[in-house]
Amino acid sequence: MHGFANPARFLRMARWLMPLMLVPGLILAFGAVAWGLFMVPPDRLMGQTVRILFIHVPSAWLGMAGWSTIAIASLVELVWRHPLAGIAARAAAVPGAAFTAICLATGSIWARPTWGTWWVWDGRLTSFLILLFLYFGYIALAGAAQRDAAAGEGASRVTAIFGLVGAVNIPIINRSVVWWNSLHQPPSITAGKSSIDAAFLYPLLIAALGFTLIFGGLVLARMRMLLADIQTEARLRRKAMA
């Protein structure tokens, strides 16, 4: 694993891997959303509003996948001190927060015509809003730690610890509709079984794949940016010393 620890080697790989993820991701996501908007039949109860499914569900999945990425990368950073792990964790925060916000916004728009309300404080909605606030906290903390490091205070582990602790919310979001009575319905797709008709399921799976590739491409782009930042910082410091 430490073979990728060399940032130069990682950057060479990221340069071609990033468009390799972003381009097919954008094509698949746009295609699946267009499929969902124009070709899918209306749902028996929800009618036309079912089309929000193809943005809402992939965003929810990536909001949670984003924090899982942060948690795993933080673990690798803390235990193995892998030099790129902390960068990967920080790079996943902004895309993860963006997808979480998209999920909350589309969910709210969907809830108005179907449930009859913009927002309720049930277990699923509340735990997902907490996820968004955790992202905000993480982004602020990571920024502060980076400024401290740039000021020569030494690298701080507090960001990684926060990333691990925040992961406790992920299983709570996942189980919230099972543990507690909630207005949000239980999961439609569980271990190999789906109660979504094939007419909706295929565009949904393609949309999820497309959005995931976009997410991966964005994380690589942000990792490149963070590494470039660190390089510039180091170069400036050397100049100042000379």
Binding site: V40, P41, P42, D43, R44, L45, M46, G47, V50, L53, L75, L78, V79, W80, R81, P113, T114, W115, G116, T117, V120, W121, D122, G123, L164, V165, V168, P171, I172, R175, W179, W180, N181, S182, L183, Q185, P186, P187, S188, S195, I196, D197, A198, A199, F200
Partner: protein
């Protein structure tokens, strides 16, 4: 006898211990919340332990088939919310959400008055199934046959 533990392994053990403690605390908190964090009462819970009269609560369950009756004033409806154990009569005046239909889920916000639940607001709760409109009147076997044909 000197056993050297690699610092890497020491950190791994420490973090695993911390995570176990953290997950344990999380589970305990979730368990303690298991009653309070429920968004609504089920009819059987409301019947078994009625809240004091006038306290605002939410009742969630299925709208019994054939139970929706519109009163002569045209805006008040009576219906029955049930689960597998109990049935609670509900009264509501106002506009119902589009998805409020018999045999579907509902969450009513209101209070108990005697044995009737008086709702100020209705929220529709739908199930986790997504089915196209043309197939809603078919039995699941018929729908499967149509899907098999179109494949």
């Amino acid at each position: 006898m000197s056993t050297m533990i690699k610092p890497k392994h020491q950190r791994l053990v420490l973090i695993i211990l911390a995570l176990v403690a953290l997950i344990g605390a999380g589970l305990l908190a979730a368990y303690a919340l298991s009653k309070q964090a429920a968004y609504f009462y089920l009819p059987s819970e409301l019947v078994a332990k009625p809240p004091e009269a006038g306290r605002a609560v939410r009742l969630g369950g299925m709208v019994e088939k054939g139970s929706i009756k519109t009163q002569p004033d045209g805006v008040t409806i009576n219906f029955i919310v049930k689960d597998d154990k109990a049935r609670v009569p509900v009264r509501f005046s106002g506009i119902t959400p589009d998805l409020f239909v018999e045999g579907s889920g509902v969450v009513a916000e209101g209070r108990m008055e005697g044995t009737t639940f008086v709702a100020d607001n209705l929220l529709a709760k739908h199930d986790e199934k997504y089915v196209p409109r043309e197939m809603k009147n078919m039995t699941s076997a018929e729908a499967k046959a149509v899907i098999a044909e179109t494949k």
